[in-house]
Amino acid sequence: MNAVGILPLDVAGWLVQFWIALGVAGLFLQRAPQLINNIVFPLSALTSLLLAATGLWALAMPTGVMVLPLGLPDLPFHLRLDSLSGFFLILLGAASLGVSLFSAGYFKTMAGSTLGLLCLEYHLFLIGMTLVLLADDAYMFMVAWETMALASYFLVTTDHAIPDIRKAGYLYLLIAHVGAIAILLSFGVMQGGNGIAAYTFDAMRAAQLDPFWSSAAFLLALFGFGAKAGVLPMHVWLPEAHPAAPSPVSALMSGVMLKTAIYGILRVTFDLLDTQLWWWGVLALGLGLLTAVFGVMFAAVQGDMKRLLAYSSIENIGLLLVGIGLTLIFHVYGKDALAALALTATLYHSLNHAMFKSLLFVGTGAILHATGERNMGRLGGLIRRMPWASGLMLVGVLAISGLPPLNGFVSEWLLLQAFLLSPGLPNSYINMLVPVAAAVIALAAALAAYVMVKFYGVIFLGQPREHALEHAHDAGIWERIGMGWLALACVLLGLAPVYVVGQLDHVSQMLLGAQLGNAAGNWIFLAPVDTERASYSPLYFMLAVLGVMLLTSVLVRRLYHGRVRRSDPWDCGFPAQTARMQDTAEGFGQPIRRIFEPFFKIERDVPSPFDTHPRYHGQSDDRLWYILYLPIKHLTEKFSSMAGLLQHGRIHLYLTYTFVTLIVLLVFV
């Protein structure tokens, strides 16, 4: 409490209202697109910054609640801002800050009603996500959840003139709603049949559910939120919707919206349900591992840069789910200090992923603007045309590959530490699962580096594969600022883990009643358990690498010389080398496709050696689509055609139906 009596929740409310105003302003300003670009989006970014600050403020503050005079007669909207919501507000604010700044430059080519509508939908999307984090009753939550889903659906289908994009949007909407139904049912289970007032989260916290119903609620929530997050087998919408959406929207969807699903799982599992069972943790762990490996494997064989990033998001969601599973297991067995470590790793990774994935997605937007090309096989050599975009994206690529001293490494380090500390669980089967899980995580992380070398190498390095690329231009000033912020966040989150972990302790304290602390470490060493056990200092690390590099460079120049001569690359005596002889995205992914062949459904047209105009075509599809989704689709179509048999369009038949129904009802009722 401070003297003025303003609480973080009040500020968050004002910021949401300001966002509404900005969205509506966008609608009215459609005749002045430069105002939308240069005023509305930067103001929106400022609001994001303030929202992140509010979240940071709320972390340490006592929980604030508020009841709005809106909503259903017996169930007004309840709002609540606690540490968990606060943390996710920081994530939302920090990521959308960069994305909104980028958008200020990105949507320049758009005009008129498209831009006005887009501005409104963009802000509705942000508002929806914010309210999901603030909702404190099931009704409010679902309203916010649907706002988020619908706004993002309209954003995905911005280019609705293209049939494929409409199709992608439809798939997204469908899976979002299947998930929403599961979430609604989960809330229904948790309120325990106690009337409409029991739909507040407070009533759910107080409700005592037996293990069966708790498990039902957990499974429904895992399914529902998993559908939003892209957990196997509900992942199919991600690789379709992300490439379809404009890049800043993909960035928000991948960076922030997927995290609202993680928020939902955490909220339901650790806050709303009062008992947890150990097998929930094993289930989450197993699903997470499958999702992670699946995602990264498919990312390695993609040729479209945004699809590649979408699959990489699936991988990261898998890692987050592994973290949640581990937290659950530790928590159930009463090892709350370890649970706090696993939870900290999960939250840290959420934040990291929000930063580097947003950065990479907006980066693909810059490339798309510069070249008009999403297919990596037609890009190349952009590091020389786009120095800003390539430099900033390199930071994102290194961060997502989990390399020290950037942020991806810190969360990976914490997660692996959690695995290493796991022996001593009373259940020996779980004990045996742990090393296998750690191995799978390590494998996924190493493959992620493969994927990212491919991503960066094929797009930015080498020679341009098309002549048009010679005219590619670098990102504009707003775009640079937006990407610059996200890259800076990746660096800062990597270099200051001690501070971040300290802030995350508020969340662990709230959810688990235990905190990780940094008992053994100090401001420069991160040592979650004890210095003898493990410690890491990114700052020293970076200084040492930089120091050694500088020393070497100076010494080499001092002792010898720094002379450089430019020449043609070595051609092995074959001067007719062209840019087309470099590895394409397809080629770079070939070893992975070959090793993991059984997992892909591969279609290839390999031309014969005697073909004068050879054309190669290769496609690696998801088997799950054929095994799981198509049968469901066929079944649905069958049922609807059976229902269609009843319809003939003749009035007397319909009158007969009515008559028969009436008779039947009279007989039975």
Binding site: Y540, V556, P569, P591
Partner: protein, 320 residues
């Protein structure tokens, strides 16, 4: 006062090791090559040949392609810096090196990964067919080798309840006569990883430039003069670092505490002996084995990965 003195001493040891590894690493490479020459009944160029090569390369003018970007030019320094650091934080003479606090075994694997990602990116920078071929193969080898290495290190971490290299070495060195079955599996896996990551036969062949077989050499084909010298030196350091890890994990006996002056000569002699033995063993292994086809390499490394996981599982089951 005493504490300050200890810290100063530790920093001194750290700097000494930093200097020692960077000077000694080419000698190890020279020794391995010399052993191979003897085994092939050649007289060989002598153990000092790598130094001569480095000197020659540093004197030459660097030739780089017209379209080389900044990434291509900084990579040798990054790779060299990473490898130097990696070799310097592994306790081989004395434990409790101060810099080990900043980077534990997971970070050590991270350093190797950082260097690898940069060199692969640099290989793709010029845009010749060879560069991307090398980068792709390098990443192919490493995506299996890296988790295997991590699992090997985890096995040792589990035994010593720590991911700090000094603690690990301390624990393992003071259980002199206990043979850990889990570590036996880990050692096998580690040998495979060492061969793969250092571009040795049977995964890669450092002596040829045949496009069907080469991995590491294909990546650095565009480098010359001081850039090439730094990369070659970094390769020596990498081999040195890997052999050091092997020594620290599997034969840590004789490693002393910082400040134990009386034990220092013996520790140094023991280290040199272990390095010579390891180098000779590597040479023998390379001579008697044949290069694998590139698509057999994943199977070979998959074996290492499985062995390492098995070692970890055995530790979980037997507690040893």
């Amino acid at each position: 006062m005493m504490e300050n003195y200890d810290l100063l001493l530790a920093i001194l040891f750290q700097l000494a090791q930093l200097l020692l590894v960077v000077l000694l690493a080419p000698l190890l490479t020279g020794w391995v090559n010399q052993c191979q020459a003897w085994l092939q009944n050649r007289s060989g160029a002598g153990v000092l040949q790598p130094y001569r090569v480095l000197r020659k390369l540093f004197h030459k003018d660097a030739v780089i392609a017209h379209n080389a970007s900044w990434l291509f030019r900084v990579t040798p320094y990054i790779v060299f810096g990473c490898m130097w650091l990696a070799a310097a934080i592994i306790p081989i003479i004395a434990v409790d090196l101060p810099f080990s606090q900043a980077a534990d075994v997971i970070a050590l694997v991270g350093v190797f990964a950082l260097a690898r990602v940069f060199i692969s990116l640099a290989a793709m920078d010029i845009g010749t067919a060879f560069g991307s071929l090398g980068a792709r193969r390098e990443m192919l080898v490493s995506f299996l080798a890296e988790p295997a290495l991590l699992m090997v290190l985890f096995t040792a971490s589990m035994i010593s309840h720590s991911t700090q290299l000094p603690s690990i070495v301390d624990t393992l060195a003071h259980h002199q006569f206990v043979l850990y079955p889990s570590l036996a599996f880990a050692a096998l896996a580690f040998v495979i990883v060492l061969l793969a990551e250092n571009a040795r036969i049977p995964v890669d062949n450092p002596a040829t430039h045949l496009e069907l077989t080469m991995i590491h050499e294909a990546m650095i084909l565009e480098y010359s003069a001081r850039h090439l010298a730094l990369i070659e030196w970094a390769s020596s350091l990498k081999l040195f670092a890997y052999i050091s890890i092997g020594i620290a994990l599997f034969v840590p006996h004789g490693i002393i505490e910082v400040g134990n002056w009386a034990g220092l000569p013996l520790a140094i002699v023991l280290l040199l002996l272990k390095l010579m033995l390891a180098g000779a063993g590597l040479a023998v292994f390379e001579i008697v084995s044949a290069k694998l086809r590139i698509f057999r390499a994943p199977e070979f490394l998959g074996t290492a990965f499985l062995l390492a996981v098995l070692g970890l599982l055995i530790h979980f089951l037997l507690g040893a």
